[in-house]
């Protein structure tokens, strides 16, 4: 239902390889990325080659509403190779909702997405990226963020429906006074998931947080690496938490911090465990069933319960 609503209000809607909707608004240039590559020299500077498919969103003026994108797979065996680019001009505050999904559970599609996001000086972007796939789908989603001086990014990625294979990766470069907060939440069931997040604190007074929330259930395997490198005198923190819901599932979490700058401060914390029986009992003592109690704890763990 949420996806349908999102499709209706989408600025960009792509199903399989066909663009169904392209709706610009005042102050925003929206193009298919192959067209944008031909049309704008600036875009050619950011992309190595002409994309096959995807979107370009260039936010030039302050916008009142979030920009919505929706990319879906609706036919069997589709292989999407998306190349998206988003530019937010200096001083602009923007918000984006991005949904990628399969409309049926067993389409066995491949969704390969590379997104480059450039936040110019003092620009700000809140990006919420939701994935909902079927059990036969394979997904590789990679993002690259460039934050110019004073830019702010809050990025959250969630994939809580089971699929065959998931690879999530991002690289963010933060210049002076830039600030980034990354949240990646994954619930894996009978699947293989790899997470690879890297943040480079290039400029002084930059600060970044990587927050990973991983739930592994029913023979799932989640391998995660998260790294913050401080070249400038910045502050960074990695926070990785994993929940195992079954004995046949695996979570591996490797947080890494690196600096040669004595003005930098980098910290990390990581933990993996099972759901506390005390918490389940407590919620059951309020009338919830065991399943309802676990669901509430899990949604809380993934940060969903705060949204609701």
């Amino acid at each position: 239902m949420k996806n349908v609503k999102n499709a209706k209000s989408a600025n960009y809607l792509q199903i399989d390889h066909i663009i169904k909707k392209l709706l610009s608004e005042e102050g925003v240039i929206l193009r298919p990325s192959p067209e944008a590559y031909e049309e704008f020299e600036d875009i050619r500077r950011y992309l190595d080659q002409k994309p096959e498919e995807g979107y370009m969103i260039w936010i030039k003026k302050q916008i009142k509403h979030p920009i919505n994108t929706c990319i879906a797979i609706s036919s069997p065996k589709i292989h999407q190779r998306l190349n998206n680019i988003v530019i937010v001009e200096s001083g602009i505050e923007a918000e984006m909702y991005s949904i990628c999904n399969a409309v049926k559970p067993v389409l066995c599609g491949v969704h390969e997405g590379y997104t480059k996001i450039i936040l110019k000086e003092n620009a700000s972007l809140k990006l919420r990226h939701f994935h909902k796939w079927g059990i036969g789908d394979e997904v590789i989603t990679t993002s690259e963020f460039i934050l110019e001086n004073g830019a702010t990014l809050h990025s959250s990625y969630k994939c809580i429906s089971p699929l065959k294979k998931l690879e999530v990766g991002s690289l963010a470069v933060l210049n002076s006074r830039a600030s980034a907060n990354f949240e990646v939440s994954i619930m894996a069931k009978n699947e293989e998931a790899n997470i690879d997040e890297t943040m480079i604190l290039e400029g002084d007074n930059s600060n970044g947080i990587i927050k990973l929330r991983m739930i592994s259930d029913s023979n799932a395997r989640i391998m995660s690496r998260s790294k913050i490198i401080a070249n400038g005198a910045g502050r960074g923190h990695i926070d990785c938490m994993g929940l195992l819901l079954s004995n046949d599932s695996i979570i591996s979490s490797v947080p890494e911090i690196f600096t040669k700058n004595k003005g930098a401060t980098l910290t990390h914390e990581a933990s993996i465990g099972k759901i506390s029986e005390t918490e389940i009992n407590y919620l059951r003592s309020r009338g919830l069933t065991e399943e309802e109690a676990i669901n509430l704890i899990v949604t809380g763990f993934l940060g969903e319960a705060l949204i609701h």
């Binding site: 009992n281 919620l283 059951r284 003592s285 309020r286 065991e290 704890i297 809380g300």
Partner: protein
């Protein structure tokens, strides 16, 4: 008055260790009972066993609630029957707002919640906090009572509802317990260490628990209380004045 809770010869084990021994306790409809005892004597364990928490294995005996045998009933089924427990140390549930839980569990009309908040002198922003995350001792008690009120129970166990509360908030809580629970005929088992709570509740029966056993049950709470204040719990078992009520 008909029987609300009837515990018969109950023995309970946790991790194979016997922690409650041959407990007999009858609480009638609308009755207030107090349970005293030193730390680790088994008071909270009795509360958890009545509630059916999973670590508490019934080694012997049975628990009846309004005539129904609930000895092996799941926790949530006991809640449906009208049993509620205000925890002494409730766990934190990260990232879940108190408002969300109250909405999920409430048998009260949504309009009732603001009046509860007003009576407890808490703002609606309190509801937007994560359950028990960073709550002070007093805030935990307010949150517990709020949840209990939303459940509209018929029998409530208050496990040290007074701990961590200043006198002003304690009086507020007691006023609400009186008006919302006692005046509505709700039966109460209050676990406490404080005389002023006993004075306020004026229980129908006061029990003393030592080493997992109820060693004294008195109609006048002052008798065991004065013995405890005067001589300590260790003298309870030897106390000449102790009563053991069988019915």
């Amino acid at each position: 008055m008909s029987e609300m809770l009837d515990i018969r010869s109950l023995s309970v084990k946790v991790n194979g260790k016997l922690i409650l021994k041959n407990i007999n306790l009858k609480i009638k409809e609308g009755e207030i009972h107090a349970l005293l005892g030193p730390n680790a004597s088994g008071k909270s364990s009795l509360a958890y066993a009545i509630m059916g928490l999973t670590d508490y294995e019934i080694a012997n005996g049975e628990i009846l609630f309004k005539g129904t045998n609930i000895t092996h009933l799941p926790i949530e089924e006991r809640v449906k029957l009208g049993i509620a427990l205000a925890f002494q140390n409730p766990p934190a549930i990260k990232n879940v707002k108190l408002s969300l839980l109250l909405k999920r569990i409430s048998k009260e009309k949504p309009a009732t919640l603001p009046s509860f908040l007003k009576e407890l002198s808490v703002t609606s922003s309190f509801l937007e906090r994560e359950i028990n995350v960073g709550f002070s001792g007093g805030e935990k008690k307010i949150s517990e009572l709020l949840q209990i009120l939303c459940l509209k129970p018929q029998f409530v166990i208050l496990d040290e509802i007074d701990s961590g509360l200043d006198i002003i908030n304690l009086n507020k809580l007691m006023k609400i317990i009186q008006e919302r629970l006692i005046d509505n005929g709700v039966s109460i088992l209050a676990i406490t260490h404080r005389g002023d709570i006993l004075q306020f509740l004026n229980p129908d029966l006061t029990h003393v628990m030592l080493n997992g056993e109820i060693v004294c049950s008195a109609r006048d709470w002052r008798k065991p209380w004065e013995t405890i204040v005067r001589c300590g719990y260790e003298k309870c078992e030897e106390c000449k004045e102790r009563e053991l009520l069988t019915d």
